[in-house]
Amino acid sequence: MRTPPGISPSDFSAALEQFARVCTSQWVFTKDEDVDLYKDPFSPFLGEPDERWASAAVAPGEVEQVQEIVRIANRYRVPLYPISTGRNLGYGGSAPAYSGCVVVDLKRMNRILDVSEDNASCLVEPGVSYFDLYRHIQEHHLKVWVDVPDPGWGSLIGNALDRGGGYTRPQFRNHFDAHCGMEVVLPSGELLRTGMGALPGAKTWQQYKSGFGPWIDGIFSQSNFGIVTKMGFWLMPEPEAYLTGMVLAAKRDDLHRLVPLLNHVENSGVTNGMPDLGSPLLGILSIEEYAKFMEDRPQPPPDPELASLQDRAEAGDPSGLEAYGTRKGMAYWTFKLKFFGPAKAIAAQWDYCKEKFSEIHGVRFEDGPLIRLPLSEEQRKNVHWPEFGIPTLNMFSIGARSSTNSTPTHGHMWFSPIIPRDAASIFEANRVFAAAAREFSLPILRFSLPATYWERAFIFIFGFPVTEDVATNRKNRAAFYKLIDIAGEHGWGEYRTAPAYQDACMSKYSFNNHALLRFHETIKDAIDPNGVVSPGRYGIWPKHLRKS
């Protein structure tokens, strides 16, 4: 067992002894074989001295135990690192941002406290996973969906606090936005409820989000200002039907009209599923095509003519590729629009979209099938489950060594900058990131399209492999830091990142001499003067660990 930096062995032992008094010794873990389970399996520092480590772990089962743990931590200045289920792999997992923390593992707090079909909402504890809530909904035949990330094995609270996303309607697939009310153990050990939860006797905690006065919920996400022990979420009423419609455009420059039209129909609520952008000519698969790709044999490589034309298109001359597409009946761009709702209504919504997109010369449309919900067992086999609120582990079936993947990676880390929602930014980001990839000798695929998780911004999500080779990981880390710099120079910031990069990403949000970070630090100093909760998380360090 290792001791947290700056804490005497006797103080640490005393703290652990008191943790055990609170939770019983059965739920305090100090042996290496137990504590090692909290390492990040996708750590960018895999096998290196800087790999983050925990000194111990404690698993409370009740909120009162969390409060007591925090008080004890304050007494001995022991740093804590709360996790819900710790499964945000690629963004840090269960390993602390600051080595030596005692992990506060909240998985035992896994009660589903309420699910209201009438209000389409729920109230859960941090240990409740998407699978747990999905199972509860199924077992009780409730007509609500929970928007799930992919994979869906993590915690609702953990994912929302990390500001993760899903795949259904916009107000649900932004998981933090979908929350309604929280309960927080503050670094002092005091218990706080937000929104209507602050009003004793109110029955509207999961109905009205903001309560009265400053709406502070946001400061508990991507932060270290408390330990969230309950959180409410709005759920999606099970829709009557689902429809897709594909918009196909032939010219590279059509993207400049496609995106504003997409923004219009999405911001107007006419299309209400997650738009799916693809490019058959550039070999960019839509989400559903990609899911199919996973099920079927990998596609043969493109013919040499197409590869050559793709190169020319990337160099700025798309005419040959466009002509090839016309000859072969392949679209340059495909925008798959998705609709949840009453069958008659969504058919009309798709008709409206077709009218709007018809302003693009040569555009074509493909009507997808209308699916009556809930899905049949047969239908489930052919869809991307998360789009229907069904959690899956399928993501884990795709990384094995095979005849087409002779060098599987150990894991991955995501570089995920937010960019403006317009075509010019897509082209510019591709140009910039492709140049950076060449400069840093990173493997990069051809032209990429952003993801549409969020309503009014695009997000590029690039995967960097974590390997078992230290030199490769070092090279990738260096490139990752450079990309953060390059993105920052263009006004593109990360939406979320692993602890290894949180300081670097936060440093880019530097308006007015880092006023935002300084405000974070002011709050931290005021509510957690001993710096016991998650030091360093998202770049917020307590005073005694802060660099000048």
Binding site: F29, K31, E33, D34, V35, L37, Y38, P41, A57, A59, G86, S94, D105, K107, R108, F131, R135, W153, I284, L285, I287, Y290, M294, E295, R297, P298, W385, P391, T392, L393, N394, F396, S397, I398, G399, A400, R401, S402, S403, T404, N405, S406, P408, T409, F415, S416, F433, P443, I444, L445, S448, L449, P450, A451, F460, I461, F462, G463, F464, L483
Partner: protein, 209 residues
């Protein structure tokens, strides 16, 4: 560097396998040996090797559950409820992705990987790397390198492993051997893992709950 979608697709395992027999319904007769200490064996039917593993396990009295590539449904409908009610011992022959996933899910029930081996198929045969005390298994494979190795592994788990392997988290070792299995395996490189998830001995609660 690739987009999230393309990054994943660029690492996609084809998982083609050879179709495999329906491992849950092998045609071979069961052996008359008593029911094993292994409660269930699970196999990924995408992989040819899993057929031999499943058949031998089944003949040893172990119920077989198969899935194709994605273990979600099997975990959701069978493994999770089973682990909720009793920490049953499960053996498997699967891809690394499935093992990675199930190992972490098993932690939630106080269970651990108590045996693990990597089997890397290549055109020259299959290289095996073992964790834990697997000398006798290595000996079996070495003395019959042309027989289907999944059969050896399953037999060893049924017969020898309780004595030599169930002591908890397996330490890494450098035990390696090679079997020349081109007589029955398809060509192409595939990496499989045989494993056992169980409550470590002595019985106690684990971290990661």
């Amino acid at each position: 560097m690739a987009t999230r979608r393309d990054f994943v697709s660029s690492t996609v395992a084809a998982l083609l396998g050879a179709g495999g027999a329906r491992a849950s319904q092998p045609t071979s007769a069961r052996l008359t040996s008593p029911v094993s200490h292994i409660d269930t064996a699970i196999v990924d039917s995408c992989f040819h090797e899993c057929r031999h593993f499943a058949e031998t396990m089944y003949r040893g009295g172990v119920p077989i559950r198969s899935f194709k590539r994605d273990v979600t449904q099997l975990w959701f409908t069978e493994l999770h409820p089973s682990w909720q009610s009793s920490q049953s011992t499960v053996a498997g022959l699967t891809s690394y992705g499935t093992l990675f996933c199930l190992e972490r899910l098993a932690w939630d029930h106080g269970m651990r990987i108590v045996y693990r081996a990597k089997h890397a198929r290549s055109p020259r045969g299959t290289i095996h790397e073992f964790s834990g005390n697997a000398d006798s298994l290595v000996a079996r494979i070495c003395t019959a390198p042309f027989n289907p190795w999944p059969h050896h592994v399953a037999r060893w788990l049924l017969q020898d492993w309780p004595v030599s392997g169930a002591a908890g988290n397996p330490p890494p070792t450098n035990l390696r051997c090679q079997s020349r299995t081109d007589r029955f395996t398809p060509t192409g490189s595939v990496q499989l893992y045989s494993w056992v998830i169980a409550l470590p001995q002595p019985t106690r609660f684990c971290a990661a709950i």
